[in-house]
């Protein structure tokens, strides 16, 4: 789904979200209250500049509108793969973006992530995955890499990975797998506004992903290992 459609289905005409290149920003009114929107579009490759642009938008929200809910709209192909970005410390710029989202949460902003199109690796880990909880549209795509590329890098047979991915959510792309593993809390199917309303009503900002992954059966050992370390 493209972002104008998402915006309309969430807010009707009551939004002033604009795209500037791959950056999305603006404000909307939801159930009579303002929501700040920060995100990316065009399957953005997140480089130093785009990470900093998002960071500035989040900091500006903290300064100008304390406590205002933040909706992070995710559409990224991952981090930008350029020498210049590595030279300029893209890892630090992305860490900075993550720290800004973290600060917003600590200062009382509800932070909701929504993967509305595509979410990959580095671009996802410093946006939607930093929210209190991340949600997704059913048709969105979430992955680290596609199975053929995974087969090439790991030197494992593609057929093996494909067959395992039918029964084990760890190996295959897909939002349903991320829900099963606890990485995505819910899918917003049909009534998107109902999804946002429920997400904003959930004020528990603790990281529950390992527990949810265990409850849902998609990530069976992480929560247990964490518990064992606490009890060791």
């Amino acid at each position: 789904m493209d972002w104008p459609t998402v915006a309309t289905r969430l807010f009707g005409d009551a939004h002033a979200i604009v795209a500037d290149g791959d950056f999305l920003g603006g404000t909307a009114t939801f159930d009579g209250a303002p929501v700040a929107i920060v995100g990316t579009t065009n399957h953005a490759a997140v480089g130093v500049e785009l990470a900093l642009r998002q960071a500035r938008a989040i900091l500006a929200t903290i300064v100008d509108h304390p406590g205002r809910p933040l909706l992070l709209l995710v559409d990224t192909q991952g981090q930008k793969l350029r020498r210049r970005d590595e030279l300029l410390g893209i890892h630090r710029a992305m860490a900075h973006l993550a720290c800004c989202i973290d600060l917003a949460r600590r200062q009382g902003h509800p932070v909701v992530g929504l993967v509305y199109d595509q979410a990959l690796s580095g671009g996802f880990i410093t946006s939607g995955l930093m929210a209190d909880a991340c949600h997704a549209l059913p048709e969105a795509e979430i992955r680290v890499m596609r199975v053929p590329a995974m087969a090439r890098v790991t030197k494992l047979p593609e057929e093996l990975l494909e067959s395992l991915s039918l029964t084990n959510p760890v190996f295959a792309p897909g939002v349903a797998n991320y829900v099963a593993m606890g990485g995505v809390r819910s899918l917003w199917d049909g009534d998107l506004a109902a999804g946002l309303r429920a997400a904003l009503a959930d004020r528990d900002s603790a990281d529950r992903r390992a527990e949810e992954g265990a409850q849902r059966g998609g990530r069976r050992v992480a929560a247990d290992v964490i518990r064992r370390v606490l009890e060791a």
């Binding site: 960071a55 793969l81 860490a95 990485g183 992480a222 290992v225 370390v229």
Partner: protein, 299 residues
Amino acid sequence: MNASFAELAARERLAAVVDAGSFHEWLPPSERVMSPHLAQLGVPAAFDDGVAIGRARLAGQAIFVAAQEGEFMGGGVGEVHGAKLVGLLRRALRDRPAAVVLLAESGGVRLHEANAGLIAVSEVMRALLDVRAAGIPTLILIGGANGCFGGMGIVARCADTVVMSDIARHAMSGPEVIESAHGAGEFDSRDRALVWRTTGGKHRWLTGDCDALVEDDPHAFRAAAIAALAVHRPMTLADLQQESALLQGRADVDGDNADAVELWSRLGVADAHGVPDLDADEVRVRRPAAMALLANGAA
């Protein structure tokens, strides 16, 4: 002549950095807490899933510590590996050690457990930021041969202090990945000098991305860790605004895709061309004052 930190195994590094004999491991290899995913791929698993965690003492102070083993799957973060780190960090939040020290060596997400690894790295990031926000100093030591990349590269820069050796690398995507995406003209992964001046310890020091630069020597890492033991950098709104402005300013200096040497010159590094031939001590004194501010925030 001391041993090379880079050539040591993770537990050897850990033993060399903390006070002698003080490391007590949680979920040690004897408990065989292993990846549940590798066997069905026909890939050998490790009894510790590639990371050692526990408590120790550093200069007499009680710390929590972890060391990633680059020889096992490149230090990649899988479900169990990540959960051990998250457990350590959550325990730190509960027990409040003097500091948490992570000897990082990782390619990032372990691709064999792709989805679980990605979520795990995100959990590590949030748990580390919780520890930092609680005022417990977090230190990352980067000196392994595999460097610190991907999601772990991001995690590392979420910490209070990053210590690197001059032969270490800290970045996001490996040069091979960038070359395969955009060709050797973009980033020639076989040009070692180019790779090191773009992502190596000297560059990270000169541009403020790391907080201490040491020789490839376990004693030097230990000394740097002790020096940073009490360093807590708060993350206030003002701190993050300053970080934003400084990173943008640095990016603006390189609007034209300059090489590292040219960037150093523009940032005020004296005799930038000579830097690759200098040792860590000589490079340390060349960092421009403005870049030191970058790394140390308002302090």
